[in-house]
Structures are given as structure tokens and as C-alpha cells.
Amino acid sequence: MPQDWLMGLLGGALIGLAAAFYLLLNGRIMGASGIVGGLVDGSGGFKSERASFLAGLVLVPGGVVLIAGGAETHLTANWAVVIIAGLLVGVGTRLANGCTSGHGVCGLSRLSLRGFVATAFYLLAGGVTVVLAKHVLGVI
């Protein structure tokens, strides 16, 4: 769609606004892998705050999509790829202490060196992986 970039910019501003509220009100960095990871391995504090954030993250877009319709993830039907990808995303984001929201949105905007380095490496790895998996191996 030609207006994809506009929806991207609008959605991006909403993501930034969410991160801004979480910082200025709760005093926390809005990093998805950190928020969920601290609950999954039991290492993080603020457990009810994390759980509330995740409840909103699931239920609010779920409700909006229920009314508006038209949501499709187009996730690959190759379950081996899904499992391997999930494992890599889980272990990688926890080792790196952040993902696209924490290192990307919150880190880059703060001019954090670790945010820039992490973003450079996951973009590089993502690009190489898509080229190999799609154009060479043909698994995605």
C-alpha cells in the first residue's frame, strides 16, 4: 500500500508515546524483552507492574483488532523455523539485555552506545539471515 509509510510513522509515534509515558510516569524503560524476561526467569522486580504492562500489550490491541479486523501476522507455516526463531530471539535478547524496543526505540533516542551497537548487530544479523534463508536456502 502506498500509505504504508504514513501508517508506519503514525504507529511509530504511538510506540514512542507509550515509551514516553512509561518513562515519565513509571520511571521505567519500555523494553519488551526485559519486561517479559524478568517475569519468565523470575529475575526482575516490579512484578505486578510488568504483568499489567503485558496484559495491556495483549488485551488492548486484541480488542482493537476484534472490532477493526484485518490483522494477520503471515507467520511462516514451517514450525521448525518458528521454534528455532523463537529460541534465538529469547536467548539473544536476554544476553543482549534488550531488543528492538529497549535497545532500538529507547536506546537510540537516548544516544546510548550499547543501544547503537546492539541495533547495528541485530540489523546486520537479520539482513544476512533473510538473504541466506530466503534467497539461498529457500526456507522462508
Binding site: 504504508d4 508506519g8 510513522l9 503514525l10 504507529g11 511509530g12 510506540i15 514512542g16 515509551a19 514516553a20 509515558f21 518513562l23 515519565l24 510516569l25 517479559v36 524476561g37 519468565v40 526467569d41 495491556g56 500489550l57 495483549v58 488492548v60 490491541p61 482493537v64 483488532v65 490483522a71 494477520e72 501476522t73 511462516t76 514450525w79 528455532i84 526463531a85 523463537g86 529460541l87 534465538l88 530471539v89 529469547g90 536467548v91 539473544g92 535478547t93 536476554r94 544476553l95 543482549a96 531488543c99 528492538t100 524496543s101 535497545h103 526505540v105 537510540l108 537516548r110 552506545l113 550499547r114 541485530y122 546486520l124 537479520g126 539482513g127 539471515t129 534463508a133 530466503k134 522462508i140
Partner: protein, 142 residues
């Protein structure tokens, strides 16, 4: 009160991810597919989010404390280590394979089907494997 605002922030984040197209794995893989039919949308999403957050960090810098109490996050470390680099490389590989990162994977739970749930369960398993792996990376020269 903290929980209510956290719920709101999570909700706004999720709606933003859906509006921007980031819960559609084709748009993410399209962005990473520089030798295919390249999709620039992700640059606009990241640009929009970073611009708003840049202003938010400035506001935070001018304030003593968050509105709900407590303190703002500490100044980020400048230390670069191999867990940061290795972790980001592994994350990028998984991100490229499926087109999902943690935020959109959670936000799309209600409409992502069995595949979406399988991704999340695998992601949680990977997250649980990280602390012992981190310990080995930090204590041994492997």
C-alpha cells in the same frame, strides 16, 4: 496506580505496533530483505518512535523524578562486551527467520494462531536458557 498506567502504556505500545504494521512478519522480513522486494516501512516506524522518545528523554532530564515516584533509569553503561554482541547477533538471526521480535510476538497473541503461541513458548524457553549461558560466557573463555 503504577499498574494502571503500565497497562495503558502496554496497550498503546501494542496498538502502535499493529497500526505501524510491525505485527505483520512480511513487513519486517521485507525491511531486512535488502536484495528482494525491499520494504522501507520499518525505518518510518523506528524514526517516529525515536523522535518522540528523544523529546521524552529531554523532559525526563529536566525533572527530578517520575510522576508516580521512584527514580529515572540510571545513566546507560558504555561498556561493550561479547554478551551484548553475541546476544544481538542471535536475536537478529531469529528476528530475520520469523519476522517477529518480542513486542509484536506478545501483542499479536490473540490473533497470531498456533504458530504465534509456538513462537512465544520457544522464546520463553530461550529466555530461561540465557542466564546460565551468560554465566558461562562471563566466567569462562569459551
Amino acid at each position: 496506580m503504577r499498574q494502571l498506567y503500565a497497562f495503558g502504556a502496554g496497550g498503546l505500545f501494542g496498538v502502535g505496533l499493529w497500526v505501524s504494521g510491525m505485527t505483520d512478519t512480511r513487513k519486517v522480513i521485507g525491511w531486512l530483505d535488502v536484495f528482494g522486494d525491499w520494504d522501507p516501512t520499518l525505518a518510518f516506524v523506528l524514526g517516529g518512535a525515536v523522535t518522540v522518545m528523544f523529546i521524552a528523554w529531554r523532559i525526563a532530564g529536566a525533572r527530578a523524578a517520575p510522576a508516580l515516584g521512584g527514580s529515572f533509569p540510571a545513566t546507560p553503561e558504555r561498556r561493550l562486551d561479547r554478551t551484548l554482541v553475541l546476544g544481538s547477533l542471535l536475536f537478529g538471526m531469529g528476528w530475520g527467520l520469523a519476522g517477529l521480535c518480542p513486542g509484536p510476538a506478545i501483542a499479536s497473541l490473540t490473533w497470531g494462531g498456533t504458530g504465534g503461541i509456538l513462537f512465544l513458548v520457544s522464546m520463553f524457553a530461550g529466555m530461561r536458557a540465557a542466564p546460565p549461558l551468560r554465566h558461562r560466557l562471563e566466567t569462562q573463555n569459551i
